[in-house]
Symmetry: C2
Subunit: 600 residues, 2 copies
């Protein structure tokens, strides 16, 4: 049977050849694990994803949630799939054994989850949101909140959401208007309207725990005046039983281009003035707390984009192998049998581009997930801090690069299928529509570019950036052991040399108050930085492929040759394209910034 979710050979390459997942079992937290337990978890994930998630992916798209009697109704296939996911323990894959979890490394839980995202991004969103919300309470909530809300979320009786956006405030959260008034009993009364709340209503759980950003009466202006509240759909009694329905109403559903199986809701809080909320942590610290969830979610969004790209790549590859059409461009005999389109160079180009984007991004997504493990389980505080700095720096790339380039991969998958790819009789058009959300939610591309250039680079005196530069240099040094990789390494070295200089110079602008000038072309910077990072990951993969070839296992030769060709594609076709972007950045080109509204 062909693999439609992701290539297990490539997954094994990532986990055991590139990212050395087995080394994690040397750490105390993962001491009970080994490659067999990892593979068992992956196998279970694959099985449930194939059997319960993939089969209703199209049905989700064709039957989006309906608003019925004040609630959202989903197709019946979603609940058994999510239930099986929870029963198999994936909701708590990385939680400790004591908490009832699998105590897997994040690297492995992300790899498990990738199967669900590939099979059915919409259905997988419900547990993903819940994982983020429960982790937020786990980190910042009181013991009482953990007892009443976290524990049922761990048991998957309650699900969670993140409720940030308002009709007039999306990217600019400083402007939210939702208010929280203190009540006599120590709780708060929430009043406001939120939109685009994914999973804001559904029949999958007994209760839904909304993590809501709102402002207290004494809130200072701007982002420093935002607080975080737990607002359950149903109130929860002291003994944990469900109480009355809270004053949260489903005002309506949004109808999206794709990702249709996930409810996107408008929620009204406190229409009757009776919406009960509970402050999480300290007043006015809500945005900082929420950033934990958003950073997790950003990695999740990046992985989702990757897996949509991956699914489209695998489907179009299979199609290209099976579809006969035309003859080689230099064929002389018009009566010769047609060849499979995978034989045409331009189709190879479209497949190789997809492979380079998807497998490059997949490597980065898993690399970042392993960094989450490093943040938690490296031996010393200093090491954990370093891992955190690097992860912080990479997060905007993990989120944005796949959102842009794995969407391009989906565009190419459609193109390979031609007219068929444009019909809803084939899956690739849905992947493309689904993936178009990813450059928007959890911080748009523009926001990510400002986060990278305006915030992350200079954080802790550029500690993350220095680490990344050192790591890339180390990879380049190791690549020198393979003369065959010279032509792949050199473009990366050339890009890095120039990028480093440009970065310093742009940071100079920011530090010296030329903020608008420094940030003007942040979108270009995001692209170049992302290409450098993915180029680095491809060179790393190429080194592992050379090592694999040197081991000489004939069964793996084709696999490693493919890795080398994709690395070559990315490093020689894609990476050098960034020099023109750097020229514009270096020149502080002001074509966009000097454009006037009236001139359009």
């Amino acid at each position: 049977m062909s693999e439609t979710l992701l290539s297990s050979r490539n997954l094994a390459f990532e986990l055991y050849e590139v990212l050395d997942a087995e080394a994690l079992t040397q750490r105390e937290r993962f001491a009970d694990h080994n490659r067999e337990t990892f593979d068992a978890a992956l196998g279970t994930a694959r099985g449930i994803a194939e059997e319960l998630f993939a089969p209703h992916n199209r049905k989700n798209d064709e039957n989006e949630p309906q608003y019925v009697d004040g609630g959202a109704v989903l197709i019946p296939e979603v609940k058994p799939a999510v239930d099986a996911f929870n029963e198999a323990g994936f909701q708590n894959a990385s939680r400790s054994f004591e908490q009832g979890g699998m105590q897997l490394p994040h690297l492995l839980s992300r790899a498990c989850f990738a199967h669900f995202q590939s099979a059915n991004i919409a259905t997988s969103s419900y547990p993903m949101l819940s994982m983020g919300a429960s982790h937020l309470i786990e980190t910042f909530g009181s013991d009482e909140q953990k007892r009443l809300f976290l524990q049922p979320m761990i048991e998957a009786r309650f699900f969670g959401t993140m409720a940030l956006t308002e009709p007039h405030a999306g990217s600019s959260l400083a402007d939210i208007r939702t208010r929280a008034e203190p009540a006599a009993d120590g709780s708060y009364r929430i009043k406001g309207n939120k939109i685009f709340i994914s999973g804001g209503d559904h029949p999958l759980s007994d209760n839904i725990v909304h993590m809501v950003l709102a402002k207290l009466p004494d809130a200072p202006p701007g982002v420093k005046g935002i607080s975080l509240f737990i607002v359950p759909k149903f109130l929860v009694n002291e003994d944990g039983s469900l109480g009355a329905r809270n004053d949260v109403t489903l005002a309506g559903l949004f109808h999206k281009m794709g990702w249709r199986g996930t409810t996107s809701t408008a929620l009204n809080f406190g229409d009757k003035g009776e919406c009960v909320g509970y402050l999480v942590g300290k007043p006015h610290h809500g945005l900082a707390y929420m950033f934990q969830m958003m950073n997790e979610a950003r990695i999740g969004v990046g992985m989702g984009a990757i897996m949509l790209g991956y699914a489209g790549y695998l489907y179009s590859l299979e199609y290209a192998r099976e579809r006969p059409q035309g003859r080689p461009v230099d064929a002389k005999d018009p009566t010769a049998a047609p060849v499979s389109i995978v034989q045409h160079t331009d189709v190879k180009r479209m497949l190789l581009t997809q492979k380079a984007y998807v497998e490059g991004a997949f490597d980065l997504g898993l690399y970042a997930s392993r960094l989450v493990d490093d943040c938690e389980t490296l031996a010393t505080e200093e090491e954990r801090k370093q891992a955190h700095e690097l992860l912080d720096l990479l997060t905007p790339i993990v989120k944005s690069w796949p959102s842009e380039f794995c969407l391009k991969a989906n565009e190419l998958a459609i193109q390979i299928l031609g007219g068929h790819g444009y019909t809803r009789e084939y899956p690739v058009e849905q992947y493309y529509r689904d993936n178009r959300l990813n450059p928007i939610h959890e911080g748009t591309h523009g926001i990510q570019s400002l986060d990278l250039l305006g915030r992350k680079l200079a954080q802790n005196n550029g500690a993350g950036l220095k680490q990344l530069t050192r790591l890339i240099n180390q990879t380049c040094e190791r690549a020198q052991a393979h003369a065959s990789l010279d032509k792949l390494r050199e473009p990366l070295e050339q890009l890095m040399a120039r990028l480093s200089a440009t970065t310093l110079s742009l940071l100079g602008d920011l530090m010296q108050g030329r903020v608008a000038q420094g940030l003007a072309n942040s979108a270009l910077y995001l692209k170049v930085f992302g290409h450098a990072v993915i180029g680095w990951r491809w060179l790393e993969q190429a080194i592992r492929a050379e090592e694999g070839l040197a081991r000489g296992d004939a069964a793996d030769t084709d696999f490693y040759r493919g890795k080398l060709q994709a690395a070559r594609y990315f490093l020689t076709w894609e990476v050098p394209s960034c020099h023109h972007d750097l020229t514009l950045l270096e020149a502080r080109d002001d074509t966009c910034s000097t454009m006037q509204d009236a001139w359009f």
Copy 2:
């Protein structure tokens, strides 16, 4: 009222400042026309498009054609819109007065039609297909065929289609299996299955005339064995009245990602062995004939892609002007009122990119339409031949460049609207879905790149290419009169110098039998050539803008400044990006061609 279909100021700029439409009225065929008659036709088109086409664009999308009792049923709004289009004479806008037409230049009829494409690409497709089919009969049909089929098409009682693709033969038409057996009465019996036939069934006309490619029993193999047949849905009696239903059955409808209002059909010809067809022109010449229709259709597809891009650009511009969100990146006061997002540099970038793509392509589409007029109405045969050579060369660019870059424009329009852009409550997501068809139908991107590099460049000893190069050089020379344009002209000159050398060298490969090597990276070549052509058109627009500024009409200053900024964007941000592609082309990079199926 804001203009949602296209900017009339920009249309006037194109027609009267760049392309000198008024000069056409010096030609005998257009002697009865003047700027007033042109503008009257444009105004009528705009009115019908706004009043009857635009209002049901979303409804078309939400209610795709249904298969009922063997036929396709459309929403009721389509027919009155198409009827109004026909009654106003747009079906025959370029036909002669004697034929009942408006005898407008093609430049003007395309500009008129652009309004309908922008307003509702799906509904506009029915008349577009009919125009192509009727022109095919007009050019190659017998007098009898013209009487029985063309005349009712001119009167819009019959509509037409082009029926080429078969389940196993899309890009490779040489492999079609539809057969045509001679019958005793001089007609033929057609047998075969066609798919993706747009407008293959609908209730808009009394009859549908399918232009069908099929093979005669004695057909030589390959593309030289294809013949063209008229196959009506209803037979037509000698007196022009409708006869029996022909043996053409609607086997089913395709369900597309976008462009949903246009039926995409599977048609069975001769299930009962009784499908009557009539040979058009000579046996085995069908593909050459069909290329006339395809070349027209390719310009039509390019214009459709442009207008979808245009509609998205205008909508996102209006949104950006009205949507307050956030503050400038260097703002200090978090309590300051939010600014319209059009004030953010990254939003300006996304708008300016759209403007550069859409207005650059729009200029090229109209330029090509004017060349159609030159082919027909220039004074000497030599001049007409030259116009034809240039048009032939540009056709793959007119088709493919907008299909790629105006789709990118639509992607940016969604991004500007953020979460709203991703919902079906706003129009931009539909433009994006609709536009995704354009790189596929009427010859995929890959086919266009082979057509350009493998066929068009060398045609007539490169006559078209020499002309184009001369024209671009002339524009560069004229640009030298404006020192302000130096920085825009130089990148084009640099690109052209290198592109010319690369072109010669690639043609050398082809002429010396290294066909696979020469064509391996044809997709890169198509992009570079397209960017050179659009860069040329932008430099031409920039010259006109400078001339406009020099005239000093204050009301137009903003408009011309916007033109110059968009030209600057395209020539300094986009054009230089092609040098890396040229490096790969020059090196005959074989990364894609040496990739092996087994390595994926």
